[in-house]
């Protein structure tokens, strides 16, 4: 189960910005997935969202109502009256309304087909989720894994350094960061991957082999360490731990 007290600690200043985007409907994709998860377990995140919702509602309530001008009403009444009474020689709407409606419908369908691919895809469903924090308890990075949602697409793990902490991942002058999984079953720590330079960006996606995916599914927690170039030479993590945190299976956590 998620530890809500720890998650509240993770809700740093970025949380407020995410809450604003969430309340205004601007949050999209993986960030939306992540924040939705956080929202279910973090009272702080909920408070941030409530705050922005109240602010936005208050904006609406404080907008003064304006009475329409007399001539506006007269213009509306005049146009509706005109539509009701047909003059001689005028064609009844029933003759052109049906073809027009059909045309409009066809145009709408074509527009929808054109615009549909341009709309943002719904956020993929996450399977496992971990928030990794440093030795001081500050959240550094989130790791969210996604199972094979489409055949051939493969399992993957999104490593996000910026959503929780407004920092860039460390760029060691020498060596590599290495991601480890501590097994729920036997408590042994096994390497998932050595992160290369491209995978140490603000967020990056690791495509996981079946064996790597298996380590994630069996993970009690994930650990990121600083290792020599190429990773740990003995297949065990060094003592230079940058971040660690529990890994949860979302299906179980959300039951």
């Amino acid at each position: 189960m998620l530890n809500s007290i720890r998650l509240n600690q993770y809700c740093h200043k970025q949380c407020n910005a995410l809450a604003f985007e969430y309340a205004t409907g601007q949050l999209r994709g993986l960030k939306k997935t992540f924040f939705s998860l956080l929202l279910e377990h973090s009272a702080h995140a909920q408070q941030h969202v409530s705050f922005w919702q109240e602010q936005l509602i208050a904006l609406n309530a404080s907008t003064p109502e304006l009475a329409p001008q007399t001539r506006t009403w007269q213009a509306i009444a005049h146009s509706t009256q005109q539509a009701r009474t047909l003059r001689p020689g005028q064609v009844s709407p029933k003759y052109w309304l049906a073809p027009a409606a059909t045309g409009a419908l066809a145009a709408s369908i074509i527009m929808a087909l054109i615009l549909l691919p341009l709309t943002p895809a719904p956020a993929p469903k996450a399977d496992y989720f971990a928030v990794l924090s440093d030795a001081q308890g500050g959240a550094l990075v989130t790791a969210t894994s996604f199972g094979e949602s489409k055949p051939g697409q493969g399992n993957h793990l999104l490593i996000d350094w910026q959503t929780l902490a407004d920092t860039s991942p460390p760029q060691p002058a020498e060596g590599n960061l290495q991601l480890w999984a501590k097994s729920k079953r036997d408590q042994q720590v096994r390497s998932i991957a050595v992160l290369d330079r491209t995978q140490m960006q603000e967020d990056s996606t690791l495509v996981l082999s079946p064996a790597q995916w298996r380590l994630v599914t069996d993970a009690h927690s994930l650990i990121i360490t600083l290792e020599e170039a190429g990773g740990s030479a003995i297949g065990e993590p060094s003592e230079r731990i940058l971040a660690r945190g529990p890994c949860i299976r979302l299906k179980e956590a959300l039951l």
Binding site: D186, R190, A211, T217, D218, A233, I234, G235
Partner: protein, 225 residues
């Protein structure tokens, strides 16, 4: 007079010790390590050993007991056997495709992990720790009577045979392609991970019968979905 006698004895002893020391290396040239380096053909390996030599001021082969050459782009270990006093040799993350040194009779720790090896046949009477994970190994043959740990996970092993692994305590074979494994001659084994191998259920049943051994396999792995 007595103090003079004592100091004469002291100088005599010192001279004898110095002569003994010289005679023990009399078979070696003035700088045996330097001479041995000429037998190393791989430039990256030679450079690594030369750096160690400079750092540790090695002059005699007996001084070269540990060698760590990681991430150097080493392709060949030819000539390494000259360094017969090596007890630890680590060549992690290089480009070594073959390993055939003989004569490393004191070797206790060997690391060839993350090298593009395809086949390895290894006989060492003293070797205790062997690291060969994340290579391209397909066949592995071992005779290591002193070995206690073998890490051969994340390879492509289809065949693993052994003659003597009588002291082996930990065996890591996770993520290979093994369909069969002789588990009947590993009397000291107390941990083995063979998950992610296409082994038959009968073998898993036999593994479950191993006394005093924890075996992780796909037949008892709760994480498998």
């Amino acid at each position: 007079m007595r103090p003079q006698k004592h100091s004469a004895v002291r100088y005599g002893l010192a001279l004898m010790l110095a002569l003994c020391s010289l005679s023990s290396h009399s078979a070696e040239p003035a700088n045996a390590v330097h001479a041995a380096l000429t037998g190393i053909r791989d430039a990256a390996l030679k450079s690594c050993i030369a750096q160690h030599q400079q750092k540790h001021q090695w002059r005699h082969l007996a001084q070269v007991t540990q060698l760590k050459c990681h991430n150097r782009g080493i392709v060949s270990l030819e000539g390494l056997a000259t360094f017969s006093a090596l007890t630890r040799a680590s060549f992690f993350n290089n480009a070594i495709t073959h390993y055939t040194p003989t004569g490393l009779s004191q070797l206790k720790h060997l690391n060839l992990a993350k090298n593009p090896l395809r086949s390895l046949a290894l006989t060492h009477t003293t070797l205790e720790e062997l690291y060969i994970f994340s290579t391209n190994l397909q066949t592995l043959t071992l005779s290591l009577p002193a070995a206690t740990i073998v890490r051969a996970n994340n390879n492509q092993l289809t065949q693993f045979t052994y003659r003597h692994l009588t002291q082996l305590k930990k065996l890591y074979l996770f993520d290979n392609a093994l369909k069969a494994l002789d588990i009947t001659r590993l009397p000291q084994l107390h941990f083995m991970d063979v998950r992610q191998n296409p082994m038959p259920d009968e073998l898993y049943d036999a593994m479950d019968q191993l006394p005093q051994a924890t075996v992780l396999h796909d037949g008892n792995a709760e994480d498998w979905q």
